[in-house]
């Protein structure tokens, strides 16, 4: 029984983390219209920042306080990364932006691998001390449950924040710039500012997801942040619908659950998951590019008219 519960808790925490990644990616790709292929770089930055701070300050701060501090630190580092990448790359056109952001994520990965072992663990990875609570065989359920609670709270807050942002005056400007940047600038809207804001916001949420991930796993390596994870995030966003936040939640659940279930599936199917996932994404993009929800939110299903 406990094994099943543990499995479910693991799954749901994964859904939570990928929901955070998906909504932030959706903000940048879907709402702001920027083709961004380096989101896993921000995720990695957040995770390693949190891991580093945990190691440096373990013992000098009470556990839970340190935990929260690392979440903030992960967000800040990732946000700085977003600023560093966003500002120069903003005037790049779609395809070029994609390759520039992909290059950035590669730089992050190479940096993590090549920095001296003592700093970030290199290719071998880096352990993350359990500071939230003591974790052992009998407390595993409690640990996962607590992490799930935190992840859920984080998701709710972030989704609320992004939703409010999109519907605010600044959000309208962002959408206008995304749809027609030239027209927007000719009508008095600064085209770069909303994009930078969206990019940095998206990066910091990815950093939050990274910090949560690092603490949950207890050990991180560069292999956790490979390009395949970026594909997973993209699949979630496309599946849920690029203009929909609730779509990200549903999409995250579907994708992560599928991935976990595939691990239990008969060999024949499970072995080929790395072919099946991209295939699924390709089919989706061809036959149902608007995903499940399109631009709608789950609340709209209960209303007749879709929000314009």
């Amino acid at each position: 029984m406990s094994g099943e519960l543990l499995w479910w808790l693991n799954l749901l925490v994964g859904v939570g983390i990928f929901t955070l990644l998906a909504v932030s990616l959706n903000l940048i790709n879907g709402f702001a219209g920027m083709f961004h292929l380096g989101h896993h770089g921000f995720w990695a930055m957040g995770a390693y920042a949190a891991a580093w701070l945990t190691r440096e300050c373990a013992g000098s701060l009470p556990g839970p306080l340190l935990y929260v501090a690392t979440l903030g630190f992960g967000m800040a580092v990732a946000a700085a990364g977003g600023l560093a990448v966003g500002i120069p790359c903003l005037r790049l056109r779609g395809d070029y932006l994609a390759i520039a952001t992909l290059g950035f994520a590669e730089i992050v990965r190479i940096a993590i691998q090549n920095l001296p072992q003592e700093t970030l663990g290199g290719s071998l990875g880096m352990p993350v001390a359990r500071v939230l609570m003591a974790v052992g065989p009998d407390t595993m359920v409690a640990f996962r449950g607590l992490t799930l609670l935190i992840a859920t709270a984080a998701c709710s807050l972030v989704i609320l924040l992004i939703r409010n942002y999109i519907r605010s005056a600044q959000g309208r400007r962002l959408l206008a710039v995304a749809q027609d940047e030239t027209a927007a600038s000719l009508l008095g809207i600064d085209p770069t500012r909303p994009k930078v804001v969206a990019f940095v916001l998206g990066a910091s949420v990815a950093g939050l997801a990274g910090a949560l991930f690092a603490h949950f796993q207890g050990f991180i390596t560069p292999l956790d942040f490979q390009f395949m994870e970026m594909v997973k995030m993209f699949l979630i966003v496309v599946l849920g619908g690029m203009g929909s936040l609730s779509g990200c939640v549903v999409g995250a659940f579907l994708v992560i659950a599928t991935e976990q279930l595939l691990n239990r599936a008969p060999e024949a199917i499970a072995e080929w998951w790395q072919v099946e996932f991209p295939l699924l994404l390709a089919l989706m993009i061809v036959f149902r590019p608007q995903g499940i929800f399109g631009r709608r939110e789950i609340g709209d299903l209960f209303r007749r008219k879709a929000r314009a």
Binding site: L161, N164, Y165, S168, A169, Q170, G171, R172, R173, L175, A176, Q179, D180, T182, A183, A184, S185, L186, L187, G188, I189, D190, P191, V197, R295, A308
Partner: protein
């Protein structure tokens, strides 16, 4: 004689070997309604692009109230009070009609990131005033009934009217209209002529418009510039232009006698 509100001198634009606009001199006085006409490819829209900062002039200068604003970036130019509509409609198609106008309105109060996200009262007050202004503009253009519709769903004529409403939201001093009557039937055009005169009066605008419909242009413009192959070939009142042999030749390719 006071300084004109707006002036270009020697405005020139070359693309590689092609000269799109050559030494064009335009002048707008406060409150005027001026037309810019010419055969296709004469360089009219290019002039608009140069004036609004979308393109950089190769030579020449642009003066707003005497100050040199050549090379100003588009969104600064807009903030200085120069608004425009577009020949190929460039509405934000996925957004609602109301939002198209609201987005351009600049809030008087605080519209920063956090005040928006947290819905602080300063934000909500600013939003309220923006909403009121936008709804008034829509009503002015007869679009209040479709405020919640997606901009892409509007009929063509209404889309053109929405473009004007959106430009007005900038509270500009100078309004550039690029073929506002294109695709409209005669009844709509007459309606538009009336509207243009009205908004000029109501919002204290100076208007420069590009149009192909001669009746429309002659009907409302006080002065007209005629371009052909990037050069100004005539300038004057509608009556003068009508009789100008160079204009007739440019349009008809031969003297009408």
């Amino acid at each position: 004689m006071s300084d004109p509100l707006f002036r270009t001198e020697g405005l020139t634009k070359r693309y590689g070997g092609l000269t799109a606009v050559s030494r064009v001199r335009l002048e707008l006085r406060e409150g005027e309604l001026v037309g810019l006409i010419g055969p296709n490819g004469a360089g009219k829209t290019t002039c608009f692009n140069l004036i609004t900062g979308a393109d950089l002039p190769t030579e020449g200068c642009i003066r707003l109230r005497g100050a040199d604003v050549t090379g100003t970036r588009p969104f600064h130019m807009a903030r200085l009070g120069v608004a425009r509509t577009f020949q190929n409609i460039r509405l934000w198609k996925e957004m609602s009609v109301l939002d198209n106008v609201r987005t351009v309105c600049v809030a008087g109060g605080r519209s920063g990131f956090w005040s928006g996200v947290l819905r602080l009262s300063s934000y909500r007050i600013a939003e309220q005033s923006i909403r009121e202004r936008s709804e008034a503009l829509l009503a002015r253009m007869g679009l209040e009934g479709v405020a919640g519709e997606r901009a892409a769903d509007l009929p063509y004529g209404d889309q053109r009217k929405l473009e004007i409403a959106r430009a007005l939201a900038l509270a500009p001093r100078i309004l550039l209209l690029d073929e506002p009557a294109a695709g409209m039937n005669p009844a709509e055009k007459a309606d538009l002529m009336h509207t243009v005169r009205e908004i000029r009066r109501e919002f204290a605008l100076t208007i420069l418009l590009i149009e192909h419909d001669m009746k429309f242009v002659m009907g409302i413009c006080e002065r007209i510039y005629v371009l052909d192959h990037g050069e100004e070939i005539a300038h004057g009142t509608p009556d003068e232009i009508r009789k100008d042999p160079k204009v007739i030749e440019a349009y008809l390719g031969g003297s009408a006698g």
